[in-house]
């Protein structure tokens, strides 16, 4: 960093918290802590949340889990992948989209993002399919829904399992239907960064098929299963049964989310669309205000694909100025105290994936996007004066770089 970096106080920083709690939500948690009688996990609030989540998303079956990673682990497990099977997955995403599929022993095949929407499409996925492809992982990145009609048509034609990573896209719609309800599995995050958060960690898994759904309670909670048939005495032969799922060779997990978090999630669901609307208004105001600056290229939202605007990424086009995204990030940080960042290092570039043999990707759009990426702080509770200052500073920085 340049020396004046140290002198510049940070005026607009990232918050790890996407959205704050209302007083009513805080009171609700306090009341649960005080009055809950029966259990703080695997109880009625989980059931209530799962019902509310299915109603909200339109999913057939919903399950609370402790993180979106765990939702992806469960989905990857049920896919019954074997060594040699291929999983097509974008390399422009957070690492947790891919890790659970890597753990199965399957081969990760990186799909490029679309040049304009920055998410995968039926076209970019189709290029990577082989006779070994068994699963495609679709990531609705930055909150933007992928075109699920086209992707599901491809999956049907090729008989592929579809896992939707909706970590950033709760409530986003593709062709009027919520993401996470097209594919076989939908994986959602309530991590602290997300549009809603269950005290920092949490998630949900939606499932299309009854047969898959039947596996979930046991897989999620240490193999606990109902006893088959009626029992005369509640303690015979034991209080609970612990059994394998019908998937051979699979040990169960413990991915439960506690009752307080489940209860809070149910409350937060009521605000998801309002939060998205606020984010949308700001994102559109930002883009409109910068429409005279072709140096900043934003994620294009195709017709019929909604976004919940989880993040505010841009690509710096230096073709006229001769400058780069690095010049921009450096200048806005050191001169204006705004911490812009880059996001979603192509997964194949990380040592983790390189060491497992997945270091190669033929994904030019991903490389071009990342290598020119600027992502702006965008938590929904950022004070309006900070947001306005950021917007003005972006303009100033763009002007500075024009020289």
């Amino acid at each position: 960093m340049t020396s004046d970096n140290k002198q510049s106080p940070i005026r607009v920083d990232w918050s790890g918290i996407g959205e704050r709690y209302t007083d009513a939500e805080i009171d609700y948690v306090a009341t649960l802590m005080k009055t809950t009688q029966s259990t703080f996990t695997q109880g009625g609030l989980q059931t209530e949340f799962e019902k509310a989540f299915s109603e909200f998303t339109g999913a057939n079956y919903s399950f609370a889990v402790n993180s979106c990673t765990s939702a992806l682990e469960l989905a990857a497990t049920i896919c019954e992948l074997k060594t040699g099977d291929e999983v097509v997955i974008p390399n422009h995403t957070y690492c947790a989209s891919a890790i659970p599929f890597g753990r199965t022993g399957a081969t990760l095949v990186w799909a490029d993002c679309d040049a304009k929407s920055w998410v995968v499409s039926a076209e970019t996925i189709a290029k990577k399919l082989t006779s070994k492809t068994k699963v495609i992982v679709v990531v609705h990145l930055y909150g933007l829904a992928c075109d699920m009609q086209a992707i599901m048509a491809l999956a049907k034609e090729k008989n592929l399992i579809v896992v939707e990573d909706c970590a950033q896209a709760l409530g986003a719609m593709s062709h009027g239907q919520q993401v996470g309800t097209f594919g076989d599995f939908g994986c959602y995050s309530f991590h602290t960064h997300k549009n809603i958060t269950t005290l920092g960690e949490g998630g949900a898994l939606t499932v299309k098929n009854k047969e898959h759904a039947a596996l979930l309670p046991g897989l999620r909670h240490n193999g606990h299963q109902p006893f088959s048939g009626p029992r005369d005495r509640y303690w015979v032969p034991a209080m609970v049964n612990v059994d394998q799922t019908p998937i051979e060779g699979i040990w169960p997990f413990n991915y439960c989310m506690g009752e307080v978090q489940c209860g809070l999630a149910t409350q937060l669901l009521k605000r998801v669309h309002a939060i998205s609307a606020k984010r949308k208004e700001r994102a559109e105001r930002f883009k409109a205000a910068l429409s005279d600056y072709p140096e900043l290229v934003f994620q294009v939202q195709p017709e019929n694909q909604q976004s919940v605007f989880h993040l505010l990424p841009a690509r710096y086009d230096g073709s006229k100025t001769g400058k780069t995204n690095h010049d921009f990030i450096d200048r806005i940080f050191t001169h204006y105290g705004i911490k812009a960042i880059v996001q979603y290092y192509p997964l194949n570039r990380y040592p983790l994936f390189e060491k497992f043999g997945f270091g190669h990707a033929d994904c030019p759009n991903t490389d071009f996007l990342f290598d020119n990426m600027i992502s702006f702080p965008f938590h929904s509770w950022m004070p309006e004066d900070q947001f306005s200052y950021m917007l003005a500073s972006v303009k100033n920085t763009l002007n500075d770089l024009r020289g």
Copy 2:
């Protein structure tokens, strides 16, 4: 169940909640929800909790995790078990003690519990050791510390890794030293049933060796690692690094516990010893009041081995009455409305372990204990009048069964 069962209202039931929250703890959570600025996970409250947990237990290194199962998964992973390796583990324990070790592909070898203390001992473990044994899992069941001096001497002699499952035994001491700090790993639970709970789910892992501790932050959080060496710019090459641990072939996990739960855990640690003291007073009162009834045999606490009295189990000795624990449980339920249960079905009897080939155990003490087991409701916040009623009803039931 007998027909009068249906007429008897339950007067003393199990609560899934081991201990309730104080108003101060509830206020603390509400304040965190309102005022936390930077992040709700992987922040300063996690660091503070881990420091407090090391100070409380005397452990070298502590890590917050989302459950004790996750702590055991991490420990099992770091053990680097391979097919053919043997793990000696009690079959008298909760299934999560064993599942993570089963997942590694190692062979589970069941150790018997001691006939009197109902936990494993150096003697019961020694009987199961072979040249293939690599790890021993020690479970401080019901809150009672195993004799860790003797077990560690055995482990040292045979060069074995020791994992302590302290899910039920936070704060218990063996020879004046806290459990979880003798072995290579200590695994703790803050699940809703436990003496303290972090909103229903949560846990901690303690680690003895620096080399193991260095693996934990990355293994716990999707492989996030510091970049090696200084970086000129905070965003180059990316915001975070994602790498493998030095353990070949291991994909990282996501086992984080959120900041609110970490903060709450730090508060609850201040009350652990007071909670244990209250449990101890009640358990001892219960046992003393029933000292004239040799039909009820309690867990014997050997010299130098403390208990934190997580549960109140007993064995029914029907040698004089000709009755069984089933007669007792049935009668106290139907006549007095008290829900006694049985606990810790020998793991080898569960279909899960049978199907993986671990259906056989030569553990006569475990079989004898379980087949005569009665466990009484024992949450620490049970009202005194309920506790007194339960104690009187136990006496009445024992008298009834004497006929």
